[in-house]
Amino acid sequence: MQIVLLSSSAVPIYEQIKTQIRDAIHGGDIAEGAFLPSLRQLAAELRVSIITVTRAYNDLVAEGLARNEHGRGFVVCTVDAAAIRRALSERIDRAVAELVAAGRAARMESDDIIRKVEIEWTRH
């Protein structure tokens, strides 16, 4: 798993860390039962404070994605496939809502938006 932070983003750093780890879990990059990187090690690697990573990990625990095995670290919980599908679909719904709102604000036609989506889709 590689975490890349954007320091100019309006999204707080802990949120970026949480989202990227969550994506890695959902995408199967971190297997169920595997340890997340040591909190302090990750803080040193990402050049962020310890509480920033603590907050991200605590949120992952609250979301049921990881659990804190005291003294040993954070372990990825049993991954519920249906919950992942639900989470991914909610993410798409949110992104689409944002896309439509941005398109309306820019007074674009839905065809233009769809064309932009297709360009982005084939770019990767």
Binding site: S38, R40, Q41, A43, A44, R47, S49, I50, I51, R55
Partner: protein
């Protein structure tokens, strides 16, 4: 005694330190084990006095300082466990860097010459250089190497980044973070560069005019304070809720407030998140206007802004 069992590496209670006309007073703070604590405040706020008192270099006039669960100063066992980086290297100017281990190593039970040599290499400080031939950046790194080589549990750094270029500053932050990988380690550093705190500190002590303006976790600081901005007229009844109230020439005002006071300001004002910088600047402004009104014979504003 196992340091990992003590949740606060340093406990300062009711501290009073007089330094001429200046006094560090009513200091009640803790430095949590396993975290980086930043001490921030404008020049003259008392940051260096606080660190010197922690080291036993100046004796408190009142109050107690507890290090690793034992009262200090005069506690040699505690001294062994503290690594110190002050504004000057604690080595004689004519010494050669490579001879430092032989000279000061014996003072420490845990001096690790191999670690010291390794750090010198990593910091690119030639062992055959004299101490007085080092640049500011090299001096700070030498101090760090000396501090780390006796395997301390607490690292105290007084304005370590002042005078360092951005590359050296980043190296310093990296070394502190590496030190913190061990959860029994604790760091306390002073700075007046608030961006450094946001990147490095978990816990923060805001000093202003010898008093603690805030002490707590950094995210708590952001939850506790906000910035209010508005167009004239200023709601005079809300004045006591403001910290460091400032008026632009246009009449637009800005102040730091406690989040719970948000409702005291009308819908035509803007409430913004307070940065660490905002907190430091507005507390300083607050103290300055209190000093001015005291001098002009007006009512003195309350001096103490403590969260405890």
């Amino acid at each position: 005694m196992d340091a990992t069992l003590i949740s606060d590496a340093v406990i300062i209670q009711n501290l009073l330190v007089k330094r001429g006309a200046f006094a560090l007073r009513d200091i009640d703070v803790r430095v949590p084990t396993g975290f980086v604590t930043g001490v921030v405040g404008p020049n003259g706020a008392g940051k260096t006095s606080l660190i010197k008192a922690l080291l036993g270099l100046i004796a408190p006039d009142e109050g107690t300082i507890t290090l690793f669960g034992a009262e200090h100063p005069g506690n040699r066992a505690a001294q062994q466990r503290i690594g110190v980086v002050l504004d000057r290297v604690t080595a004689m100017p004519e010494w050669h860097v490579g001879s430092i281990g032989r000279r000061i190593g014996p003072l420490y039970a845990e001096w690790d010459e191999e670690l010291f040599r390794g750090l010198l290499e990593r910091f690119e400080i030639p062992a055959d250089n004299r101490v007085d031939a080092l640049s500011r950046g090299q001096s700070v790194k030498l101090s760090l190497a000396m501090a780390l080589a006796h395997r301390p549990q607490l690292l105290l750094l007084d304005e370590p980044s002042s005078g360092l270029d951005p590359v050296a500053r980043r190296d310093l932050a990296d070394i502190i973070r590496e030190f913190m990988v061990d959860p029994s380690h604790t760091v306390l550093f002073s700075t007046h560069i608030t961006s450094e705190l946001d990147e490095l500190a978990d816990h923060i002590i805001v000093l202003n005019d010898g008093l603690v303006a805030f002490a707590g976790m950094l995210d708590e600081l952001h939850e506790r304070f906000a910035i209010v901005r508005g167009r004239p007229p200023f709601p005079d009844e809300a004045r006591p809720a403001t910290i460091g109230l400032r008026f632009e020439s246009s009449g637009v005002y800005e102040a730091l407030i406690r989040t719970e006071d948000t409702a005291r300001f009308g819908p035509d004002t803007v409430i913004d998140a307070a940065s660490t910088d905002d907190v430091v600047v507005h507390f300083a402004e607050h103290a300055r206007s209190a000093r001015h009104s005291a001098r002009d014979g007006g009512p003195a504003a309350p001096g103490k802004e403590s969260n405890r």
